[in-house]
Symmetry: C2
Subunit: 100 residues, 2 copies
């Protein structure tokens, strides 16, 4: 199991546009067999900041996600919206224990 948190900061006024593109990608992503969760959250006090919480069955599933048409479409659509490069952090589950 691999958990990835992607921290996104979009340009001012682009929060809604980013949301729309990202929900479309999330809806398609959760259909992938290797993806357990694909949550998107928006910071309460700063609508230009988001976190994508991605849970993959394994590292192969994370690599497979990057090969999908919906990922490519999302990546290209949001590229001009970024206020700064995305920061991606990898985590292991502590609780709940996703192995069991």
């Amino acid at each position: 199991m691999l958990i990835v948190h992607v921290h996104v900061h979009v340009k001012p006024e682009l929060g809604e546009e980013f949301s729309r593109a990202t929900v479309e990608n999330a809806r398609a992503s959760i259909q992938e067999p290797g993806i357990v969760r694909f949550d998107v959250v928006q910071q309460q006090d700063d609508a230009t900041r988001f976190v994508l919480i991605e849970i993959y069955r394994d590292t192969e599933a994370a690599a497979a996600h990057k090969q999908t048409a919906h990922y490519a479409k999302w990546r290209d659509a949001v590229a001009p919206m970024m206020a700064e490069p995305r920061a991606s952090l990898k985590y292991e589950a502590v609780f709940p224990d996703l192995q069991s």
Copy 2:
């Protein structure tokens, strides 16, 4: 619905001790009626860094959590483990839509 991400940085070598105390708190917390999820993750490349991903039904549920015995026990147990103050960020759900 209220989503809170708590970023934790513990002192070197205290990752396992923090994990144990935090799993105990998480197990009790998910029994609270106002708590939807209480996930704990540990950063892959730095075992001293954690995120608690807390999903509450509403702000009252978040306040109620702080009144529980298990929260107080956890707070006191982990206080001396912190390498720096915890940072707490509040989010709204974008996907999935937790209102529906």
